[in-house]
């Protein structure tokens, strides 16, 4: 495990793993995707989880995102032991504190770009006027103010990812998880997206956790955790 940037070390970690193991049942065979992992993620950083395919980085990201639960060990996200929450409670927790940026964008195809950005606020019960204002401001922040009425199929890959970033950040989450956010983008667009996320992070004081292979993205890391065969590696990736 390597920390490439040591600022903010005094703040409470946004994520804390303590002896976490995650085991999957794969057709009767128990597979340990994450093995007794202990580490903490410092808030307000660009944190990278890196490793080869099948190493367990996506599982780690799923655990951080509270869409999966540890088999053993303790996991705290935003100081909350997520394993102790019911399904509805953990869902509400995600709605408030965690946001995702997916590799394949995962925008809702029946909603316009504007509606996609507005949607997380709807889940939080934000009033219509405020919802619209915040969605418009967020779309403006990612440079898509003029494309709000477009459906995802009318946008390019880079534009879709911008909408996905706007959707993730509009609710002001504590933690944004991005699984290979640049994998489906060309190098130039990928660089733009990284720059955008960095700018927004500076503006909004959000912690970003990435799972990536992309050296371009990895070069922006404040903090990097390397994982192999479900275990965190000592030393730099």
């Amino acid at each position: 495990m390597t920390m490439t940037n040591s600022s903010n070390t005094q703040a409470a970690p946004v994520v804390r793993f303590d002896g976490v193991t995650k085991t999957y049942d794969d057709d009767g065979v128990q597979v340990e995707a994450v093995r007794s992992v202990s580490f903490a993620i410092t808030p307000l950083r660009f944190t990278m989880i890196v490793g080869p395919s099948g190493s367990g980085k996506t599982t780690l990201l799923n655990l951080i995102g509270c869409i999966d639960k540890p088999t053993t060990g303790r996991l705290e996200v935003c100081e909350q032991d997520v394993a102790a929450l019911t399904d509805d409670e953990v869902t509400d927790f995600r709605a408030r504190h965690v946001a995702f940026v997916f590799q394949s964008f995962n925008l809702f195809p029946v909603l316009t770009a504007f509606e996609n950005v507005e949607y997380p606020l709807l889940l939080l019960g934000v009033a219509a006027g405020e919802r619209r204002a915040r969605a418009a401001a967020m779309l403006d922040a990612v440079g898509l103010a003029s494309l709000g009425h477009h459906r995802p199929n009318q946008l390019s890959g880079g534009q879709k990812q911008r909408v996905a970033i706007a959707r993730a950040l509009v609710k002001g989450p504590a933690l944004v998880l991005a699984d290979e956010p640049t994998a489906n983008l060309d190098t130039h667009t990928g660089a733009e997206i990284i720059a955008l996320m960095r700018r927004i992070q500076d503006d909004q004081a959000v912690s970003f956790v990435f799972s990536t292979h992309d050296p371009q993205l990895m070069s922006h890391a404040d903090e990097t955790f390397a994982i192999r065969d479900g275990r965190l590696e000592e030393g730099a990736p």
């Binding site: 799923n62 995102g65 869409i67 999966d68 399904d87 509805d88 869902t91 509400d92 995600r94 709605a95 408030r96 946001a99 995702f100 997916f102 394949s104 995962n106 809702f108 195809p109 029946v110 909603l111 509606e115 949607y119 997380p120 709807l122 889940l123 939080l124 959707r167």
Partner: protein, 465 residues
């Protein structure tokens, strides 16, 4: 609102599949609504046919319904005119009444002695003008395109009567009464045939001697023989104005209607005349229960030993036919409902499968399981609502086309063909029930795949390809 918008747009996503689903629901709605309206027409027709003949309620002397046919004297209503007046003049009943009229039911032998032909008959003595008013009852409008034929009976002519077409055929009156579909009467081999009973012929001749001149209006004449109250045979002459189809062969072969005074003369002879029943026809069938209750109270107040029967009791065929059509309607509705159910289950199941990643994304963003369930159930309900609305509207258009096509049919228990109709008037209740039923079926059908989608683990849903 957003949920509705998303659900509606999701329906429009796979237009071909949604169209097929909507078609299935619409066809279901068309089938149920059209058949339901047709059943309403048939039921209304059966009710009209029964009420035209026997009114809504018939008042009998207690015991007549079970035993009285064999003893009309003991089971006749003595002061029937008083009872009729009592009913007509009751302020609670008066506005609900259409016709209150006495009848005399009797059985005997009808003979056309010119042809040496005789036949048992079942007769009814009626007040002719009341009988005509009874036959014009048409609360449901099913007979509005039919002009009720005049019975040919007159209040001021006690000798006229009407017979069933079967009786007219048996007694050789077809030609003179211009009955269609009547085979020519073969000449009876006199040598082998038994001569007419001397006593019967004698009685007939004796009666004729005291009556008006035979065939005064050129009408065929029958001699009716029945036993009087004392058991003595009695004969009267009847001039047959017309032959009527009764709809049931047994009744066609036996039916005789005559002036009540003639029936009373035949049954009661010189003793004071009675009525075997008092027919009460209401303006609206819906009043039946309240009128029955009031009549009971009225008879109890006056210590009248009378019982009341409704048309369904007097015409068991009505109940059977209504029950049968009701069962067929239920069966068809269930089949249509099941088709709709499976179609929507299939459509929503495919939709859940195709949108698994979306479900995962929504759950990751903070949509609860109940939110996913609600979305798919809303889509099912919208499909049901659109399909059922389109189906109900199309059903009305088809019904209108059928009603204007001029098709004819003979309903069960009816004598003559009538225009085939699909009763659209007053169908709002049926349409609302069908609409709600289909929407509920589509909603319930969506619940199964919706549950499946909602229960998907978020990680598995996001990984779905």
């Amino acid at each position: 609102m957003m949920m509705l918008k998303i659900a509606f747009r999701n329906i429009l996503r796979n237009r071909r599949r949604s169209t097929m689903t909507l078609l299935a629901i619409a066809v279901g709605a068309i089938g149920i609504v059209l058949f339901g309206e047709f059943v309403r027409f048939v039921t209304a027709g059966l009710e009209t046919g029964a009420v035209e003949k026997v009114g809504h309620l018939t008042v009998f002397r207690t015991g007549y319904f079970a035993f009285g046919a064999g003893n009309p004297t003991d089971f006749g209503i003595d002061d029937y005119a008083g009872v009729v007046r009592l009913i007509r003049e009751d302020p609670a009943l008066a506005p609900k009444l259409n016709v209150v009229t006495p009848i005399v039911s009797l059985a005997g032998i009808a003979g056309n002695f010119d042809l040496d032909a005789s036949k048992t008959f079942l007769g009814t003595g009626v007040v002719p003008s009341d009988r005509d008013r009874l036959s014009r009852w048409d609360e449901h409008g099913v007979s509005r395109r039919r002009i009720p034929p005049s019975s040919g009976l007159r209040d001021d002519d006690q000798t006229r009567g009407v017979v069933g077409v079967g009786l007219a055929r048996v007694l050789g009156l077809c030609e003179r009464l211009k009955v269609g579909d009547c085979p020519p009467r073969p000449r009876a081999p006199r040598a082998n045939g038994a001569p007419l009973d001397d006593d019967l012929a004698g009685l007939a001749l004796a009666d004729r001697a005291g009556s008006r001149p035979p065939d005064g209006d050129g009408l065929p004449r029958l001699d009716l023989l029945a036993a009087t109250a004392g058991g003595a045979p009695n004969v009267v002459s009847l001039f047959v104005g017309r032959a009527e189809r009764q709809g049931v062969r047994e009744l066609d072969d036996n039916f005789v209607a005559m002036h009540i005074a003639l029936a009373q003369k035949l049954v009661y002879g010189r003793t004071p005349p009675k009525a075997t029943g008092i027919v009460v026809q209401l303006r609206h069938t819906a009043d039946l229960a309240s009128v029955r209750q009031r009549l009971r109270a009225l008879f109890a107040e006056r210590h009248l030993d009378l019982e009341i029967r409704d048309f369904a009791e007097l015409q068991p065929f009505y109940k059977q036919a209504v029950g049968m059509f009701g069962a067929i309607f239920l069966f068809i509705s269930l089949i249509m409902g099941v088709i709709v159910l499976f179609t929507v289950v299939n459509t929503m199941g495919m939709s859940v499968m195709e949108r698994t990643t979306e479900i995962g994304s929504a759950r990751a963003m903070g949509v609860r399981r109940s939110g996913i369930r609600r979305l798919f159930v809303t889509e099912g309900a919208i499909l049901g609502a659109i399909g059922a609305t389109a189906g109900a509207a199309l059903a009305q258009a088809i019904a209108s086309a059928v009603n204007h096509a001029g098709m004819m049919w003979t309903p069960p228990g009816q004598a003559a063909p009538i225009p085939l109709e699909i009763l659209t008037a007053g169908s709002t209740g049926l349409i609302v029930r069908v609409w709600l039923g289909l929407v509920v079926a589509a909603t319930l059908a969506a619940l199964v795949p919706a549950n499946r989608g909602a229960r998907l683990p978020v990680v598995d849903a996001l990984r779905h390809v």
